[in-house]
Symmetry: C2
């Protein structure tokens, strides 16, 4: 499972705590790739199945049954999550086990967090 190169890493994104300042084009492009990996119901469910599985990892065969999809399709979605730096897979004998890489999810989570309740006042219509 030699994680092919076009993988995004949390370090490569390195975005400020939140949207307290505008994102650069590069940042937004990298972040969009990460969010795109999450923007599919099958991948979200795959992720939750892996993350919530005993031991923090799940074999492909463990999760395939939860879907009405063919093996190759599941494999495709796992690859997308892997290339987004969200999960990683390891072959052990006949089976391949996937586990969540928490760093990327943490990075995305932080990005979406409000820095503080710094004042969400609707602005007193100061014309």
């Amino acid at each position: 499972m030699p994680k092919q190169l076009p993988v995004i890493t949390p370090e490569s994104i390195r975005c400020s705590p939140l949207m307290r300042e505008p994102l650069s084009e590069q940042q937004s492009a990298d972040l969009a790739k990460a969010f795109k990996a999450l923007a599919d119901p099958v991948r979200l469910r795959l992720l939750s199945l892996i993350a919530s599985h005993a031991g923090g990892e799940a074999c492909v065969c463990d999760v395939t049954d939860a879907f009405d999809l063919t093996g190759p399709t599941i494999s495709h979605h796992l690859k997308v999550l892997r290339e987004a730096g969200i999960i990683d897979g390891e072959r052990r004998g006949t089976w391949v086990y996937y586990r969540v890489l928490p760093d990327m999810l943490r990075t995305l989570s932080t990005l979406l967090t409000a820095p503080e309740a710094t004042e969400a006042e609707p602005v007193p219509a100061a014309t």
Copy 2:
């Protein structure tokens, strides 16, 4: 700006704190819609521009210049964000002002958060 109906709300998602348990098909479908709205570099940058703008809101004309895109395209992206329940817009005179709705972002952020460092042990190969 009568927010057309197919809007997702944080309440409608109501997912458990994190992926401590598998997502249902319905939850994953709703969440995927929300993440899909974030899965575009232009929309992410729009969001950061609005969120970081003085007063927490920005007029369309404030953000359009940051892009090499036509008005209709910007308008389209704003609509996607609006229908995802991530921003809301309000017309004031000639201009339309957008602001971030923090609830949806908070919901998504929480979803991606690890419940705790509950033990990321690689499992002692307990065959």
